[in-house]
Amino acid sequence: MAEALLTLEEILVRHGSATVLDIARLEIHPGETLALIGPNGAGKSTLLRVMGLLQPPSAGAVFFRGERANGENTLSMRRRMASIFQEPLLLNASLYDNAALGLKIRHLSKAEIRRRVLPWLERLGIAGLAARRARTLSGGELQRTSLARALALEPELLFLDEPFSSLDPPTRESLLIDLRDILSQTGVTAVFVTHDRHEAFMLGSRIGVLNGGKLLQLGAGRDVFARPADEKVADIVGADTRIHAVVERCSEGVARLRFDGGAVEAAGDFQAGAAVVVCLRPEDIRLSRPESPACGSGINHLSVRVVKVIPSTPHYRLLLESGTGPLTALLPRAAFEALAVREGDALSASFDPAALHIIVR
């Protein structure tokens, strides 16, 4: 693998006696987009500030292209990066002047600034607003200006701290798509902090899960979402259904897991008698009427009762009760309407063995 663009080693950030960040090692590789997710207070923003050389850690080292940041070289390193925050913090000036600010700070000529800023204003669809003062712009336009300001710097590393969380959903969606295209077209390395799984999955070539200042899991998005390392990660990535079970037997890569009210079969090698947690993502649970021919019986089927229906777009979230505990399922609107689900209904839940993820306790 290519040399890491940024490396964190033994990073500790303390506020008083509390440790808010504790990262043994983290590497950012050229061209990747690392999405960091975690709940509020997980240390995501602190980690981003440390990586962006905006906050010195209490202990540990940050290396940029192999060179350790030491205070003297911090500004020159920081000028090869750019950060975008949740609020599009612009100055009381025109959109163009705001977009050009980072380049003015670097004392570039007016012509050079123009050459680098205008294409980004065009690309982000705000060129027609260039003369408008920042405070007359909408939230989406402000954040597009903030993006243009950062991208015009042609940074080697771009940090985005929940940049779209204060925007309305359509604006957020359109900016996310634009950002994904821009990142893939320019190849700029980015670290994107969010608490939104959808944003993380959409943008991240790798996803890091943070909680309590620690990096709990780091890997490809699909792996992290489908195979959480522990129950805390499962919570954060939305593997809401977790069944405590015991390995009854295991042979030829298939394990039979028994729990109160049923049993499931899952792929994997586990020691018989081991206590495990069966994790299921809500979209991997299939629901059918008990009398339906689609409803089989026995392994990987559970009888459930619908406790609550939570409508949202484009899915319905169903909270289910089974003999073994609560389950959460997500049904597309069409499937929900076809089943004509009502609260209190008895249904059959089934799942593919490959969709089950087993955490050994």
Binding site: L75, A82, S83, F85, E87, L89, L91, N92, L101, R135
Partner: protein, 237 residues
């Protein structure tokens, strides 16, 4: 009414007739209050910025002291500056009592907390993350500070106006530390008091009008700079 009218006529005669004493008094007033305002800005702005941007033990006390200082009675300032500059006082060796410099010192004591307090308020109106964002696009520490000052320029201009307004109009401190000595420490406010005391109301009105015109001109220029940036508010439908 005739008294006021005579005062206006006398004012025009004194100013446009080129009365050297009035011009000298006006110029000294401008010099003294201008110098006091500039020194107050140099001292008050950094203190206001420091109080706005940092957290340290005793900060709340410092802010309370600055806020109290914004309403210092000039005559009390005059009294204490006089005691300090008095020949037998702690700073008597400087031999500044009854000099323009003494008036500048007293006016700085009056204006400096006003500037510091308003600077503190103007910086507190800025988004607390703005500095971090500016650093995040490559600004150095001095650049961050400069850009934050630029961003707070509208309320900072109000601090300049309030500081200048506070010192150009005060009389108690100037009288006590300057002594209102003709040709040396007589400024517009002390001269006005003197002439009114002597019953020369037309001259007092004339000097008062010159003071008003001076204050208006300075504030008009600053207001023009401040207001040209203001946004036009949409009319309610």
């Amino acid at each position: 009414m005739s008294l006021i009218w005579n005062g206006i006529v006398t004012a025009f005669a004194l100013v446009f007739g080129g009365d050297p004493e009035v011009w000298a008094i006006t110029w000294l007033s401008l010099e003294v209050s201008g110098a006091a305002t500039i020194i107050s800005l140099l001292l008050g702005m950094p203190l206001g910025i420091l109080l706005a941007m940092s957290r340290f033990p005793g900060r709340a006390l410092a802010v309370a002291l600055v806020n109290t200082g914004m309403g210092l009675p000039p005559v009390v300032v005059g009294l204490f500056v006089s005691i300090f500059l008095w020949r037998s006082g702690p700073l008597g060796f400087l031999d500044l009592i009854y000099s323009p410099a003494a008036i500048v010192i007293a006016q700085v004591v009056i204006a400096f907390p006003i500037v510091a307090g308003l600077t503190l308020t103007s910086f507190q109106t800025l988004n607390p993350h703005l500095g971090l964002q500016l650093a995040g696009i490559g600004a150095s520490k001095p650049q961050v500070l400069w850009l934050l000052c630029k961003e707070a320029r509208l309320p900072l201009l109000a601090a300049v106006m309030a500081g200048f307004g506070g010192v150009i109009s005060e009389v108690g401190a100037s009288m006590m530390v300057g002594g209102n000595i003709r040709g040396q420490t007589r400024v517009l406010t002390t001269a006005t008091v003197l002439e009114a005391g002597k019953g020369n109301f037309d001259v007092a009105i004339a000097l008062g009008l010159v003071l008003l015109a001076l204050s208006f001109t300075v504030n008009f220029v600053l207001t023009h700079i401040q207001q040209r940036e203001l946004i036009r508010w949409p009319k309610p439908s």
